[in-house]
């Protein structure tokens, strides 16, 4: 406690500066957690928190035994892992490549163009995708000779994952690569000179100098990403999917959305949301622990 007060006296302004943020999180993140009680109730808005019937873990049991549980969980996990496997390295590679470009005008142009899609809202992107993938859209007509006939690409379950991941990469790659580009500028150029003198070619330089140089950034981004893993961009899936591709497109959040709309079952949706959050938390803690053990970088 004494240390806290001493610290405060030395860095008064920092504490005051953070105060609004702390209050924000208290009010909007911690306080609403009390609402999680809905997950254990048969919540009816007219009865409120204290009048609604208590059902304990019934919602969780209902969810785990529901007919589509395995399918939606599988889809959620597969989409998240694919996002991790393809969507995570993409900005890094892009930053590495961009870093090598000497022509400043070209570099700036490519950067600006690449991070513009980030600012488009999900609804606009989904509209674009639906137009492009429709049976009269440019992509289907181009692929028609190969596939036999022009087909609405969003009606084929097998294609959904590819469409989803690739459009995600297209939208976010440019913006996220900014972080890595910033990290790349901090790598000491003398290290490159030293490596070249030791005879390292381009790839060896990359592997032994560049990547280790930005490794701490990569690890932090990775841990943060783990938290997002299970919330697979719900809005985008909702706007793109249809009943023909539920097999690959239906994820936990969209499934619960449909159940919720049909029965306005707030308790059930909260329970599943809670389930989602607990898994996400375990993932972050796990990733943090592993990185603490094997490197010097960790979030907490």
């Amino acid at each position: 406690m004494r240390q806290l007060i001493a610290n405060y006296k030395r860095h008064k302004m920092i504490y005051w500066l953070t105060l609004p943020v702390v209050v924000y999180f208290l009010i909007f993140s911690y306080l609403p957690m009390a609402g999680l009680i809905m997950a254990f109730q048969d919540f009816k808005p007219s009865k409120g928190f204290f009048g609604s019937e208590w059902v304990g873990f019934q919602h969780f049991v209902d969810f785990f035994t529901s007919p589509n549980f395995w399918r939606v969980t599988r889809n959620t996990i597969v989409l998240s892992l694919m996002e991790l496997a393809f969507g995570f390295p993409a900005p890094i590679l892009f930053a590495l490549m961009l870093n090598e470009v000497r022509n400043r005008l070209f570099k700036r142009t490519v950067q600006t163009i690449s991070y513009l899609p980030y600012f488009l809202s999900t609804a606009i992107i989904a509209g674009l995708i639906r137009d492009f993938m429709s049976s009269t859209g440019p992509i289907s007509t181009t692929l028609a000779p190969i596939m036999g006939k022009a087909v609405n690409l969003l009606s084929v379950p097998e294609y959904f994952r590819a469409i989803f991941i690739s459009t995600n990469i297209w939208q976010f790659m440019g913006y996220i690569s900014i972080i890595y580009l910033a990290a790349l500028t901090r790598v000491d150029p003398e290290l490159y000179d030293a490596a070249r003198m030791d005879g390292a070619g381009y790839w060896k330089q990359c592997w032994h100098v560049t990547l280790p140089g930005i490794s701490s950034t990569i690890i932090i981004m990775f841990i943060l990403n783990m938290g997002q893993l299970l919330s697979v961009n719900f809005e985008k899936i909702l706007l793109l999917y249809n009943s023909a591709i539920y097999e690959t497109a239906d994820v936990i959040s969209t499934y619960i959305y449909r159940q919720g709309i049909l029965s306005q079952n707030y308790g059930y949706s909260t329970a599943v949301g809670l389930f989602n959050s607990v898994i996400a938390m375990l993932l972050i803690l796990g990733a943090n622990y592993v990185s603490k053990k094997y490197s010097e970088t960790h979030l907490f």
């Binding site: 306080l31 009816k44 808005p45 529901s66 007919p67 009269t136 609405n152 249809n242 159940q259």
Partner: protein, 544 residues
Amino acid sequence: MVKKRGLTKIVTAFVCGLLIFLVTGCGADSSSQNSNGGSGSVVLDNGDPTKLRRLVPEGQTATLKVWRPTHTAIGTLMESFSDTLFNKWMEEQTGVKIEWIIPVSGTEADNLAMLISSQEYPDIFFDAGLVYPTGAYGLMKDGVVIDVAQYLDKLPNYRAELERSDIRKKESYSDTGEMAAFYRFMMNDEPNSTDYGLLIRKDMLDKVGKSIPETYDEWYEVLKEFKKAGLERPYLLNSTGFPKLNMFTGGLGFGYMNYGGSTQPFYQVDGKVRYAPLEEGFKTYLQMMNKWYEEGLIDQDFLSLNSISAELTLYFDPNSGSYAAPLSLADVARQIAPDPSMEFVSAPHPVVNKGDKIHIGPPASPVFAGAQISSKTDKLDLALQWLDLYYSPDVILASNFGPDPSYYEQRADGSYAFNDKVFNNPDGFAPVDMMMYVADYPMVNYKDRSIGNEQLLGWVEENNKINDNAYLISSSLTLSDEENKVYASIMPGIIDYVEEMQVKYIMGLESFDGYDAFVQKIYDMGIEEVISVYQKALDRYNSR
């Protein structure tokens, strides 16, 4: 070290206490029941309660808050419902001002849910039952609105209209004698005609030399000709695979409105509840649609036809041949379609054999839930009297056609109709907006007052002639709490499953060899329990 641990405990306890205190504080007023008895306003006791009269002493005004979904006229023709001629007239006559609470179009259900959970109710709800999952009756069960049956003594006009016929009483009272709303009636107890139907391109029919199809086989022939003549989309199908409001499928003997929410996808044959996916007609329909899809007669992108904007884009596209839609669109098409040769006519409900009758179509009822008074209002007497006036003979005509006689005329047979100022407005406003501007929310409705022209009336009559609506289940069926629980725990899963499978069958992603397994799975999911529960509710309804 010990001091530090102790401090942590104290801080934790304090934060927990703070959280609990704040949560409790927020829920404090949830249990207070507001008294009724009009403590907030005095209702003038001036003369005959059946007549239109001032409800508020001279020189004063009272305000009622009314929740109501929006209308296309708002923002185009007028700023708020208070600007309608009818409402202005009512305000002058009664001295009651209305404050309208209007949710943004499309967000009615969410807005209502939030309003209810915030515990700050308006005084009156209009049409809330349409967007509440358990309907108007559910709003009463959940304690949001009052049971009107208990106040009938104070409602001479409403009571007079209610007791005029048996069907009105049957539809308005619940199985247990409660009444969730002020119900809206049809003048002659005939259901209002719906103008939803099937539109088909007349110019294309002429081009391929065919007449309007009446049977499913004729439809197939016509659509094939359309395709040969170069139409990309001879028939537009809804994204669920089924046209809305039981259109097109009635001829195969089943009704199926698979929307979820408060619409329950059952129909009845001779008092026995049936669920369409279990019946032969359903399979026939899916096979027919599959065949049409494979041959390119159905819009290949039908999966994206799931919003009004998508529909409007395609409805007036020269490549569209036919679809289910409000018949009045035929007039609209004439005005705004890019290709002036496009012309639509109404096709009757298709049947299997020429001359067959159908037994189900768009839901039509002579009685529907209208206004509900909130359980927390402190102006109960005022609200009761105000709503009662809607049923008074002085008000009925004005609410249907407006207080200004220059907008309507009386025909030779004594019936009334809007005139050209409404249907062919010189300033170009749409008839439906003009009607809202002039009249408003009639509680006792004149039949077909909104159908403007002869042609439309003729088409609607044609549809009415073939359909006797014998398979419809009344929307004022009520389920008890336990029955609702059974329904809510089993049905959403089944609806979801069937919706997914029906699209796959139409698109050919699932082969019909596995159809029996599909039906079996529905049984396994517990449909029989739901049907039996629903059957009990239907029996109760029939014995009212």
